[in-house]
């Protein structure tokens, strides 16, 4: 049942209207004056107030004003005297819902009340809607806040430094990784700094151009460039930098930069290189030790044979023998005396032969040491090649002359295929000589090692002018060739297929010298068929 407050100074009207209203189903309270009505209203809430205008003391207009002050939602219906249009209009201005003219007809009252009720209902519904809306807004706001906080945390917790700007290039995001990387606090960054302080130079200029609408065709995204940024301390920090423009529609509204701190990675890279170098040294030393050990065994064996020969020959020797080969003993003068004692003995012949064998063994191994040391030196030494004008053909001819006798010894044809139009180029004659000698001697070995005795072996040394500035050497053999595994290892340190005869450094040295010339070396080989080594030099024609 709706509550209703009826204010009227006339006793009769209060009574009549109360009865009528009660019969319409209202819970009616009455007041005899404006002040009384207001007092009652302040104690109790009435959704509908019915008030007379003309009352002594506080009139209906004032009542209306007060009530609307207390609760603007209340439906106030004013009752005016006949023809008092002015009061009616004034009351409507003040927010009265309706007005009735005296004498109040039941029908009109009922209609006015019905309308008031409808309005109350509508208001209530609206209120509910408003409340629902409000709650929804509250809920959504909370969710947005949660999302914002989540994204903020995402930005803050990022390992990469994140810096974002608005279109004036003011800093609006500066996360903790950025603080740490650049050494500025977020407040410093936001208050006095802009994109130019943080973005790498070229990029910050391009971004300014994009904001200014100048460089619209330029790429607006920069991914993963390595760059260097300067921290507050002045330290240059190596970073991997990515950057993107931010748009609203097609209008640029900001930019965001991501900085990956590379200091740790750079540090690790250095460590890795260091440890790789150490490993390489370890390998080199192991290979070297192995090589030296083999040679040492040879020396020891030779020494044993020499010593035995000397000891055996020394028994019962008297006279001297002029046939003694002093050239052989010149390097070991302290043993020359015992040598002399050997000679006269009847067993001399045999012991001398043995001495010679042992001594040859010592010599052979001394050669091996010197080969190894020379190879090692030219491999490890940072030697600047000595370039001069030189005809590559001279080198090819020299090497062929040098190897001719060895080739003949093994029945190998050494073929020269020389480009006589060669001319001179700048090269390091000593270096190239040792390269070519190495390749030719390898080629001869490949024929010597070949098991197919039906073959007629040959080694061909070729020189060609390739173009204005380049020359090529080619060494071709039809010897044993190499399988793929061997080919993959030929440039490994101390790798040799020649057992104790090779140092395992020859091709390495050759390759190093060719690289110093800015040239390349290629190899093509087939097991059983042979091998082709090609050296290409970019030497300038003189």
């Amino acid at each position: 049942m709706s509550k209703l407050l009826l204010i009227d100074d006339e006793d009769g009207i209060r009574k009549v209207l109360s009865i009528s209203l009660k019969s319409d189903g209202y819970d009616v309270a009455t007041a005899a004056s404006g002040q009384q009505g207001i007092d009652l209203f302040q104690k109790e809430f009435f959704p509908i107030v019915l008030t007379d205008i003309k009352m002594p003391g506080m009139d209906g207009i004032e009542v209306l004003r007060r009530i609307k002050e207390i609760n603007p939602e209340v439906e106030v219906i004013v009752i005016t005297g006949h023809g008092d249009m002015e009061s009616a209009i004034q009351s409507l201005h003040l927010g009265a819902s309706d007005f009735l003219t005296k004498p109040v007809s039941d029908q009109l009252l009922s209609i006015a009340l019905k309308r008031a009720e409808e309005r109350l209902k509508t208001k209530k519904t609206l209120n509910n809607y408003a409340n629902d809306l409000w709650n929804m807004v509250k809920e959504k706001t909370k969710e947005i806040k949660r999302r914002y906080e989540f994204e903020d945390k995402l930005v803050q917790r990022s390992i990469d430094g994140i810096v974002a700007t608005d279109k004036e290039e003011n800093i609006i995001i500066f996360n903790s990784a950025a603080e740490e990387m650049f050494g500025y606090t977020v407040n410093e960054a936001k208050s006095d700094m802009n994109a130019g302080n943080f973005y790498p130079e070229g990029i910050s200029q391009r971004i300014s151009d994009i904001f200014a609408g100048k460089d619209l065709d330029a790429s607006d995204i920069f991914v993963g460039d390595e760059a260097s940024v300067t921290a507050k301390s002045g330290e240059a920090v190596p970073v991997r930098f990515s950057c993107a423009m931010l748009y609203e529609g097609d209008k640029p509204i900001g930019s965001v930069g991501f900085f990956q701190d590379l200091r740790k990675i750079k540090h690790l890279e250095k460590e890795l290189i260091k440890s790789e170098r150490l490993a390489a040294i370890g390998q080199t030393v192991a290979g070297l030790a192995h090589g030296v050990k083999n040679i040492l065994n040879g020396l020891k064996g030779g020494l044993y044979i020499v010593n035995t020969a000397l000891k055996n020959g020394a028994v019962g020797l008297a006279a001297e023998n002029k046939k003694i080969d002093y050239s052989m003993t010149s390097t070991l003068p302290f043993q020359a005396r015992s040598l002399k004692r050997i000679i006269d003995n009847n067993e001399t012949e045999r012991q001398q032969k043995k001495l010679k064998t042992g001594w040859e063994m010592v010599e052979r191994n001394i050669h091996k040491v010197s080969d190894l040391v020379l190879d090692l030196l030219s491999y490890s030494k940072e030697r600047e090649p000595e370039y001069e004008k030189y005809n590559p053909n001279i080198i090819a001819d020299e090497v062929c002359d040098l190897m001719e006798s060895k080739a003949k010894e093994y029945d190998i044809d050494l073929i020269r295929d020389i480009d006589r139009e060669m001319g001179e180029i700048y090269l390091d004659p000593k270096g190239m000589h040792s390269c070519l000698l190495n390749l030719v001697s390898n080629a001869i070995d490949a024929c010597v090692f070949d098991l197919d005795t039906q073959k007629h072996w040959h080694v061909k040394v070729m020189t060609r002018r390739k173009n204005e500035s380049g020359v090529a050497f080619e060494v071709v053999d039809n010897g044993c060739g190499m399988d793929e595994e061997t080919q993959s290892k030929i440039f490994a340190e101390f790798f040799s297929t020649k057992g104790t005869r090779g140092t395992g450094l020859g091709l390495l040295v050759t390759q190093k010298i060719i690289k110093e010339h800015g040239g390349t070396m290629d190899v093509a080989s087939q097991p059983g068929k042979g091998t082709i080594f090609t050296i290409r030099l970019p030497g300038k024609k003189v």
Binding site: G298, G301, G302, Y304, I305, T308, T357, G358, M361, G499
Partner: protein
Amino acid sequence: MAKKVLIVDDDVDVRTFVSSVVEDIGYKPELAKDGEDGIGKVKEEKPALIILDILMPKESGIKMYRALKTDSQFSDIPVIVHSGIAKRTFLRSQKALDEFGDQPVPEPEAYLEKPVEPEELGAMIKKFLS
């Protein structure tokens, strides 16, 4: 006549050294520079002892050892393996070959890892021949 000792090694220094030791203790050295050559010399010279290197071109040390030990004609000739590789490695490689279906072969009568002192080598040779 002095007993013959066959020395099979691809390294000329080793052949020279070992043959000198053999000679010094009164035996006659015969030389072969790889496994193929070695088998030929075994047939020709009928040595009383074989000193055999393992790592030679074409794995012929391993092959030659198996050939000797699986042929009843030669399996009684004692073999001293004289090699740069460890005995364990050698035995493992032989065992692997056994597993591949080859006939199992016995361990060599003696195993010397390079480098070996002349006295030690001499004593070992004498042990088999006297």
